[in-house]
């Protein structure tokens, strides 16, 4: 689903990517296959911001792990800068390991509790030859400055537990930056940080994207921050391992076409008491996600969709282009126009 108007260099190209997990069911039974990602097509270009949204269990973290190389896809192709990931030369592999970095949700778990910041940040730089012993401190200070941890000497010899959540999250960003990456995978980077500090981390990511042309894949369940980070970027909406709608953030959020996205949008709390009470109520037929080991047939969303018809239960929908977005829904043209509020439309 690459944007045709985008001629920039692709960093990551996923084509019909599949990811299955197998769960052992004892000696005699065949292992249970659980499909975590299904037919994912995604191209990430240089300097682009892509937000991936979905509920927990939709496969968004699995997607990040596949892109980061932590999981080997069980089907489809994954190309890094045009090279198939499985058959890369040593040099290309090294480039791959430097170019794609990840920022995790739990900043405490992402730092070794036994190691100080200079070790956590410095060792990878030494090992990957981004610094040598003589200029290590200088380089680490410089990178801490980039993520606004100043004066750097206050952080260099600290252990993870001595820093606040926001500071640790900045350390993670600093560690990612130290590898000179072209793509940062940010997996719910702010969901464990206090609300008052969240936007500062998001602003930092946006700044790095603009100043250094680093592509950002921002993974979240929070559509409000997705919109804030995404701004001019693209959005990928996932449901049970599939992409249900994708397009540019503004367009898709202003005019959501897939019933799932519409439901998601109407569930987001709005920080304005008068507006939020005019919101239309949620319109799903079930609040709970089906089990991943017992995937619904046809369209995976049909068990919760209020527009569900016979065809939805039988045939998986193919993504079709509508406006600037791609939507995977059989009934995309028959759905009533989406309104977030009852009464007059207050949409920006």
């Amino acid at each position: 689903m690459s944007d045709p108007g985008n001629s920039r260099d692709p960093i990551v190209t996923l084509h019909d990517l599949e990811m299955n997990f197998y769960k052992s069911r004892g000696l005699l039974k065949r292992p249970l296959a659980m499909n975590a990602l299904h037919h994912i097509n995604l191209t990430i270009h240089k300097g682009e911001i892509i937000v991936v949204v979905g509920e927990s269990g939709c496969g968004k973290t699995t997607l990040a792990n596949v892109i980061a190389g932590l999981l080997k896809p069980t089907g489809g192709t994954y190309e890094f800068k045009g090279h198939e990931i499985r058959s890369m030369s040593r040099e290309q592999k090294n480039d791959y390991h430097n170019s794609i970095q990840m920022i995790q949700q739990d900043s405490y778990a992402a730092l070794n509790p036994m190691r100080t910041m200079i070790k956590s940040l410095g060792d990878p730089m030494l090992l990957k030859k981004f610094a040598d012993k003589s200029n290590l401190y200088e380089k680490v200070r410089e990178i801490l400055g980039t993520v606004d941890l100043t004066p750097a000497d206050n952080f260099i010899n600290k252990y993870p537990h001595q820093l606040s959540g926001g500071q640790r999250q900045r350390i993670l960003i600093a560690r990612a930056l130290s590898m000179n990456p072209e793509l940062i995978l940010a997996d719910e980077p702010v969901s464990m940080i206090d609300v008052s500090l969240r936007v500062s981390i998001l602003n930092l990511l946006a700044r790095l994207n603009q100043e250094r042309n680093i592509a950002v894949l921002y993974i979240t369940h929070d559509l409000a921050t997705a919109r804030y980070v995404g701004k001019s970027g693209r959005i990928v909406v996932m449901y049970l391992g599939q992409v249900v709608e994708t397009g540019n953030v503004q367009g898709v959020l202003a005019n959501p076409r897939h019933p799932y996205l519409q439901a998601l949008l109407s569930a987001v709390p709005i920080p304005d008491p008068s507006l939020s009470r005019k919101r239309k109520k949620l319109t799903l037929t079930g609040a709970d996600l089906p089990s991943i080991s017992n995937m619904p047939s046809g369209c995976r969303f049909h068990t919760r969709c209020r527009y569900c018809k016979e065809i939805c239960k039988e045939e998986p929908p193919k993504p079709v282009s509508r406006g600037s977005s791609m939507v995977a829904c059989h009934r995309v043209d028959e759905l009533p126009e989406f309104e977030l509020f009852t009464g007059e439309k207050k949409h920006a």
């Binding site: 980061a68 592999k93 990840m102 100043t150 952080f155 537990h161 606040s164």
Partner: protein, 311 residues
């Protein structure tokens, strides 16, 4: 240097651990230089049997009139030596096999895990007895090996489980994403996190090794050392008719108290060790120290730092 200093600072602040450490230090001192200072006089002096504590006999005398204090001092060495040596062997074996299973995975892991399962599910002490019968224990080293060879299973199991979970922790995943070499991940990222566990296990294992060695000795499966506390206890108990002879009770109590004191100090020390080796746990004491000294400066610094970073 810094690490050693902070280790002792933490130990000092944890009163229980500090007391444990002091007692343990005292026992070690006793084991190393005690026999050089206190002479051992093992004769028979029935005139002075079952005496209470006095200046001449600080802990009284036993059923043949020998000084109990002398025996305790001379027994310390063998008790501690067997305990520490057996524990050292156990930790080395358990750590090596557990780490091998955790890192290698596959068939190696399967085999080691199976052995661990078997060792955990069978009672160890009877087997140790059988081994001691087949391979007669002639010296302390042999005894330590017999004690260690079957008791590493729990340790190995825990080390394996810890390593398996550490391998999936985010900070290790990040290293994999960065493509850092395996030796860095194993030695710099994972193993330091196992060390505090190993250290406290080592101390606690000493405890159980001493207990088991006592059992083996009482059954006569290990070399007889008249001053070993367990032999003292055994003889005293036999002579005191398990307490029927009231005069012998104090004689029994002395080695028992020595055991209790040693084991208690080991447990206290192990608890503190865990804290001292873990930077997260030892933090609070540092903070307190700093606060007492210069609250104002500390506060300003913190404020300045956080102010700058939040924007």
């Amino acid at each position: 240097m810094e690490a050693i200093k902070s280790f002792f600072t933490t130990m000092y602040h944890n009163k229980q651990a500090f007391i444990g450490m002091l007692i343990l230090f005292f026992f070690l001192l006793q084991a190393v230089i005690g026999p050089l200072i206190v002479p051992l006089n093992m004769g028979t002096d029935f005139l002075n049997r079952y005496q209470g504590p006095s200046l001449q006999h600080p802990l009284g005398t036993d059923y043949v009139g020998n000084d109990l204090f002398q025996q305790i001092v001379h027994g310390t060495r063998s008790v501690l030596f067997i305990g520490l040596l057996a524990s050292l062997f156990t930790v080395i074996l358990g750590f090596a096999l557990g780490a091998l299973a955790g890192f290698a995975g596959g068939i190696v892991d399967k085999i080691i895990s199976m052995v661990i399962q078997i060792l955990i599910s069978v009672p160890i002490f009877p087997i140790q007895l059988i081994i001691a019968v087949i391979f007669p224990v002639r010296n302390v080293l042999m005894l330590a090996v017999v004690l260690a060879v079957l008791s590493w299973a729990w340790l190995a199991r825990n080390v394996r489980a810890t390593i398996l979970s550490l391998k999936e922790r985010e900070f290790v995943l990040v290293c994999r994403i960065m493509g850092l070499p395996k030796r860095h991940i194993i030695f710099k990222e994972i193993l330091p996190n196992v060390m505090s566990y190993l250290a406290s296990t080592f101390v606690l294992n000493t405890n159980s090794a001493i207990a088991t060695s006592v059992g083996l000795m009482l059954l006569g499966m290990a070399p007889y050392e008249p001053t070993h506390w367990s032999i003292m206890l055994n003889n005293a108990a036999a002579q005191a008719n398990s307490g029927m002879n009231t005069a012998g009770i104090f004689n029994m109590m002395v080695p028992t108290a020595a055991f209790v004191l040693l084991q208690m100090s080991l447990i206290f020390f192990a608890n503190g060790l865990d804290e001292a080796l873990n930077p997260r746990l030892r933090a609070s004491y540092k903070v307190r120290k700093k606060k007492n000294q210069n609250t104002a400066v500390g506060m300003n610094q913190e404020g300045g730092v956080s102010h700058a970073n939040g924007q």
